[in-house]
Amino acid sequence: VSIGTTILHVAILLTAPPLVGGIIARTKAAFAGRRGPPLLQPYFDLVKLARKGSVYSRTTTWVFRAGPVIALAATVTAGLLVPMTGAPAPLAFEGDVILFAYLLGLARFATILAAADTGSSFEGMGASREATFGALAEPALFAGILVLALGSKSLCLSTILGPSLHALWGAIGPALVLVAVSFAILLLVENCRIPVDDPNTHLELTMIHEVMVLPLCRDPRAARAPDGLRRRGRRRGRPRGRSRRGRGRRRDRRVGDGAPQDEPRARTDRRRSRALDGCDRGAVHRRGGAMTFLTNSILIASVLLSVFALGTSRVGMTIRIFAVQSFVLAALPLVLRGGPLGFHEILLAAGTVAIKVVLIPRLLFRAIRDVSIRRDVSPLIGYGSSLFAGALLVVLAFAVSASLPLPSGVASPLLVPASLSTLLLGLLLLISRTKAVTQVVGYLVVENGIFLFGTSLVVEMPTLVEMGILLDVFVGVFVMGIVIFRINREFDHMDTHNLTALRD
């Protein structure tokens, strides 16, 4: 590594990060219909803060003062491991990925201790939260690193993120998409962004960010002024009511991904992140180009959507997820076909879309409107636990299908495991939920899994049989809809849990 690139690297490392904060603030403002602060605002803030003195609580010790110092030193060292200039990073060796992760861990550790040093219960709460999220984020991070390491056969960040990354997209594109999505979620978790946390709205979390900033500012009242520091989006002057609501949602938030939230803002954010995921996938597709890539993406999407359905409590959301999943799956036979499309295939796809994407969801939406339920509030297995169980089931499906006698000519090695996973996840949904509508959706997801399994034998499976199954499902759902409606009219609720209390 030449001295020139090293200097360039360090220069980028030291000057670029505040710009990201500026971009985030502007983007946020744009989505909220405002103009937002200038892009360079964080730099102005930093300069302003550097001229201020400091006030320390009498509770704090040197640990508090060392917190930001250690965090900064650790982050900069970690930055020296990441290639930025196109050339390898100044500090690159085999195994530096692990060091990278643990340096960030050190920064977190320092922050937690600094927060706890203030002796306030608010900071304690923030510290505890940071520790919890950190402990859970670590395995996720390493799972992603594992994929990258397996793909690139290297444990050096400069190699993993080097020129060979391009070839990797072609080889294991879908897996990389998953890694990208999970890293994006991790990014949201670690930076306390909206689906996981919102530093703007609740108090206790704001406090830990205050710890990050406080050592730099002199007057506590100046810190409260909204124009003072925009860094990390901290603003304390919010009414407390919101913070309480934030606490009420904490159980949901722990889930991390797909956590149900009722704030519209959170919803748009999630939608946005999904859109991001989509355009990533588009970009990847252009690069990979192969048809197998599309197939694999569909299969992965199917599994992911089932997992997503497990994680949400909103009944409407599960129905929508089912519709999207069915739509994606309806496209699968067309993609698998490859060659010119026959009348049968198009008819099949159109029929699937008409029934599973339009008709059944509409029926279900009407059902939940009639009985006016929006949430499955008391699942037999909690959302966090069922997500975890779902992950285990996916692992099981992949492990089992490795030793399953596969029919010859299966289009993709992912097909059977994906169908098994979808099936199992649907069953889990069926098992764990109490609302009849969610259970119907679970049943439908199971059917999607079976459909997927059927597609793996698409050559042998006559169209007529497929049509028959479709009709079967339709009738089944129809009957269930009627039953739900009846139960609701008789008993004024539709919690299947209470059915067991019936005696004849």
Binding site: A50, R51, K52, G53, S54, V55, Y56, S57, R58, T59, T61, V63, R65, V69, I70, L72, A73, A74, V76, T77, L91, F93, E94, G95, I98, L99, Y102, L103, G105, L106, R108, F109, I112, L113, A116, D117, T118, G119, S120, G124, M125, A127, S128, A131, T132, A135, L136, E138, P139, L141, F142, A143, L146, A149, L150, L155, R218, R251, R254, S385
Partner: protein
């Protein structure tokens, strides 16, 4: 691979139970369980490497295990010395009764912090060096190996990551409740620092931890001959030039940079502090901003149990905590109580039933004691005959 599974489970459960402890020494003891688990992981991966003939995997795995043994000895001794000083000074190891000791026992606090950083495998501590080797061995097997070995190593990496995160949470909790904040009881307020002899002992151990963290390749070179002996079946392969203790050189550089940067930022900060725009000396030290609440007392601080509660919630199904509480019923509750404890599963599921069975069997055998001597002799003879018939006759 059995060793690997055993190591993973031991380490994960060890750290989870440690996280739930209220007593400082018990917490450290459970962390010993965790670290033995990590050592087992290293040995397991090394064994896989030997079996599949991967010298890199074998050497990294065994070296990791051996280094971790050494490192564990260092930082655990340091931590126990620190905990001992705390107990000696305050008379209690109950974390929720302590607090604010960093002010009263600055030397112990620094030494304990070094121990914490090391045991959490955070750079520049020595724990990172050995865990890094185990990680790298697992990664190497995962990329180069095949079949179940590969899957096992993938899981080992995930287990290590989980353990690392939980250990960091646990020691953040321990250090924060014992040394930071305000004293939670009178005993904690009256603490005093350890006598010089103890300080020297801790200082030596702490500097050893940091030294290994900054010069890991030297430590690796020290254990190298032993590791090569363990990796005996691959002797010819381990002489290859790509198998060297220089693997650890990268960490050495990074740790040195980290320390240098830390010191530089600290000095920079110190240089910046006096020159304030207002020009005045910092005002009187003030209390922590309590969001406008005036009557803050040290008892309102976050306790170690509250700190661990979210993680306890996540792993509820695994840990089966016992919570006994009386919720405040009226507007002026008399004495709402909350008591949590996490019974050790190894104790309740494994040992206690086993010992109970043993005792019951022994009770049953008491009958034999009461019969006459002749009958006892007859029993001995019958047993002997039966054994001979069983083993020798056919």
């Amino acid at each position: 691979m059995v060793v690997l599974a055993l190591g993973g489970i031991t380490a994960a459960l060890g750290v989870l139970y440690a996280l739930m402890q209220h007593d400082l020494k018990r917490l450290l003891a459970y962390h010993t369980v965790e670290n033995i688990g990590i050592i087992l992981l290293g040995i397991g991966i090394g064994m896989i490497g030997v079996r599949s003939g991967h010298p890199v995997v074998a050497m990294l795995g065994f070296a990791g295990a051996l280094l971790h043994m050494l490192n564990h000895a260092l930082f655990k001794a340091l931590l126990f010395l620190g905990a001992g000083s705390v107990v000696h000074a305050t008379g209690t190891g109950e974390m929720d009764a302590l607090g604010g000791l960093a002010r009263r026992m600055p030397w112990t606090a620094i030494a304990f912090l070094v121990g914490c950083v090391s045991i959490c495998a955070l750079p520049p501590g020595n724990g990172f060096v050995s865990e890094w080797s185990v990680y790298r061995a697992a990664f190497a097997e995962a990329t180069g190996g095949s079949g179940t070995d590969r899957v096992a190593c993938l899981l080992a990496v995930l287990a290590l990551a989980l353990i690392g995160g939980l250990a960091a949470a646990c020691f953040a909790k321990a250090f924060a409740t014992v040394f930071l904040g305000e004293p939670r009881s009178a005993r904690s307020a009256g603490g005093h620092d350890a006598p010089p002899a103890q300080r020297i002992a801790m200082a030596v151990l702490a500097s050893a931890c940091i030294a290994i963290g900054v010069f890991p390749h030297l430590a690796a070179r020290a254990v190298w001959p032993a590791v090569r002996q363990v990796g005996g079946p691959l002797a010819s392969a381990t002489d290859a030039p790509e198998v060297t203790p220089d693997w650890w050189r990268g960490i050495a550089t990074a740790a040195a940079i980290l320390l240098a940067l830390g010191i530089a930022v600290w000095l920079l900060r110190r240089a910046m502090r006096p020159g304030t725009a207002v020009g005045a000396a910092p005002a009187q030290p003030v209390a922590t901003w309590g969001c406008g609440y005036a009557a803050v007392s040290p008892r309102m601080q976050y306790t170690s149990s509250s700190f661990a509660t979210p993680l306890l919630g996540v792993f509820r199904l695994l840990l089966l905590p016992r919570v006994r509480r009386e919720r405040p019923a009226t507007a002026f509750p008399a004495s709402p109580t909350l008591h949590t404890s996490t019974p050790d599963m190894a104790e309740t599921v494994l040992y206690r039933p086993a010992f109970r069975g043993l005792v019951r069997g022994a009770e049953a055998l008491r009958v034999v004691q009461r019969i006459p001597v002749q009958a006892q002799a007859a029993l001995v003879m019958a047993t002997l005959a039966a054994l001979l018939l069983w083993k020798v006759a056919p």
